[in-house]
Amino acid sequence: MSRTAAEYTRSPQLPSTHFVDNRVYHDQGIFAEEKEKILSKTWRFVLHESEIPEAYDYRTASVADTPLVVARGKDGVIRSFVNSCSHRGAAVLRRPAGNLRAWQCMYHLWTYDPTTGECVSRPRPEAFDAVGLRQDACGLREVRTGLIYGLVFVNLDEDCMPLEEYIGDSMFLQREMIDTVEMEVIDFFELNLKCNWKNWMETNMDLYHEFMHVANRRTSLQIPEYYSRNWHTFPNGHFTVDRYSVEYDKYPGWENRDDSLALPGMKEDEFQITDVFPDLTFLTRGTVVRIDNQIPLTPTETLVQYRALGIKGEPEENRMRRIRDYHSIWGPFGRNLPEDCLGVTLQREAIYGGRVPYTYWCREEDNLSQDDIAARTWWKEWSRLMRRDQSQPFGPVLPEAAE
C-alpha cells in the first residue's frame, strides 16, 4: 500500500538510531557546523608518506576549507602548514606536489622555510618594520600532523587527542597489509561528485548496496561466507569488517587469483574493508589497497580522492598487475566505481530537494555483513560531535560530547 502525506512525513516508528532525517545531507547550516565540529576537529587523512619520500618534497591538501601543504623537512620530519602567504594570502605552493628548498610566494616574493614554516625573506622589509610587522611574526601557521602505519593525518584542532589514541585498534585487520613491508601510492585520481560527502562515505559502510554491482553479484553474493562476516566497531566512530574470498573467475574475462602478489596477511582473492571516521575508507582486494578520502566542497558537492597502495620497489611486471587489478574494478573505467557514482547521484536527485524526509539504516542481523551496524556507529559519532540527533537534527540539543 502506498503512504499518504501524513504517513510519509511522520517520524518512522523505529529506534532513533535506525534512521536519518535527510536534511543532514543538504542543509547549509548543518554543513557549516560539520566543518567546525567534525571536519576540523578530527584527525583527517591527507596522504601516504611515500608521496613525499625525499627531504623538501611537498604535497598540497585541503581540510575543512583550509589549504594545506604537507612537507618533509630537511630533517626528514613531515609537517603541515597552511598554504597561504602571510602577506596577502596567496597560495604559496601552486603545484599539487613537488620538491623545493624554499617556498617563494609568486605575488610579492615573500619566502618561507619548508622545514620550519618561518618567513625567511621579504623584499624591501623596512616599510613593514616601520609599523612593527616583524619578519619573525610572519611564519606560516603550522598544523598538527601525525604518522601511523605510513599514513599521514592532520588535525586543525591543537587540543585534539593523539592520533594513536584516535585510531585505537580500529585498524587491527588493516595494519598488517600496509605496515609490514614498505608501501607506495601507485595510482591517484579524484572524482568531483555532485553529492553530499556523507552519501559517499555511506557507500563505503553499506554492504547491502553491493547487490547493485554486477561484478559482486557474480563473484561474491553467491558465496555463503559473504553474509557471515562480522563487523567490529570501535570508539571514535571507526569500524571494520572481516574478509572473505572472492570468486573472480565468475565474471567474464576475469581469472581467479593465485597468491603470488598477495599483500602481507592477505590472500589474493580476499576482500576487506576498514572505515575511519569521518571520511576515510580502506578497501583491500588481496593485491592492492584502495584509500578513499573526501574534500567536502558544498553540501551537495564533494571531491573524493582515490589512492591505490602497492609494494614499494617491486618489479614492474608485479606493479602493473596490481594496477590492473585495481582499475578493473575501482578505476573510473572499472566495473564498480561508475555504479557507486550512480547510486549517490540518484540519492542527490531525489533527496536534496528537501521533500523526502527520512531514509533508513535499520537492518539488523547480529552485526553480520549486511547489518547496518557500521552506518549506525558512524552516525552515532556524528550525532555526538554535532550534538544533534541525526534522526531529528533540529530537535533538542544533545548533551555536550564527552571528552
Partner: protein, 152 residues
C-alpha cells in the same frame, strides 16, 4: 608506401562513432588481432605516469559486451576526434595522434564535458585497409565527474 590520409582519418572517426553507438563488434573489427588498448595519464600529484586501463583485443571485446549486464548511467557519450596528425610510416605502421574530446549527455538532455585527451594510435595499412594496431588514450583530465563503464 603511400598512406591514404583520408582512410586513416576515417578509421579514427569510425572508432569514435562505433564506441558512441556501442557497436562493440564493429569497433573491434577496426583492430588488428594483436590490438592493445590503454588509458594513461600523468599524475601531477604523484609526479609519475599512471595506467588506468590495459586490454588486449579479445579481452576488450568481452569487457565491452559485458557492459549491457550492468546498471549504467542513462547517458550518451560523444567522442570527438580532431587535430588528426598522421606521422611517417615505418615497417607498415603509421603513428597517428589526434585530440579527443568526450561529452556526456544525460537522460535529461544536459550535456557536460567528460574528458579531453589524445589518441596515440598505431595504424597498419597492409592489405589496403587501415586498422588499429594499438591505441593509447592519454588523458589530460584526471578529475572526472563520474566513472564510465565504457572507456574512451
Amino acid at each position: 608506401m603511400t598512406v591514404d590520409r583520408d582512410r586513416i582519418s576515417g578509421l579514427i572517426y569510425d572508432s569514435c562513432a562505433l564506441l558512441d553507438e556501442e557497436r562493440f563488434d564493429d569497433y573491434i573489427a577496426l583492430c588488428t588481432p594483436e590490438f592493445t588498448y590503454r588509458i594513461t595519464a600523468y599524475s601531477e600529484e604523484l609526479r609519475k605516469p599512471m595506467e588506468w586501463m590495459f586490454q588486449t583485443r579479445d579481452n576488450f571485446l568481452e569487457l565491452l559486451k559485458a557492459v549491457e549486464t550492468h546498471e549504467v548511467a542513462i547517458a550518451h557519450m560523444r567522442r570527438v576526434a580532431s587535430m588528426i596528425r598522421i606521422g611517417a610510416a615505418a615497417n607498415g605502421v603509421v603513428p597517428v595522434r589526434s585530440t579527443v574530446t568526450v561529452y556526456h549527455t544525460w537522460y535529461d538532455g544536459d550535456t557536460r564535458l567528460f574528458a579531453v585527451g589524445t589518441y596515440k594510435d598505431q595504424v597498419t595499412t597492409g592489405g589496403g585497409t587501415p586498422l588499429l594496431a594499438s591505441r593509447e588514450v592519454v588523458l589530460d583530465t584526471r578529475r572526472l565527474a563520474s566513472g564510465s563503464h565504457i572507456p574512451i
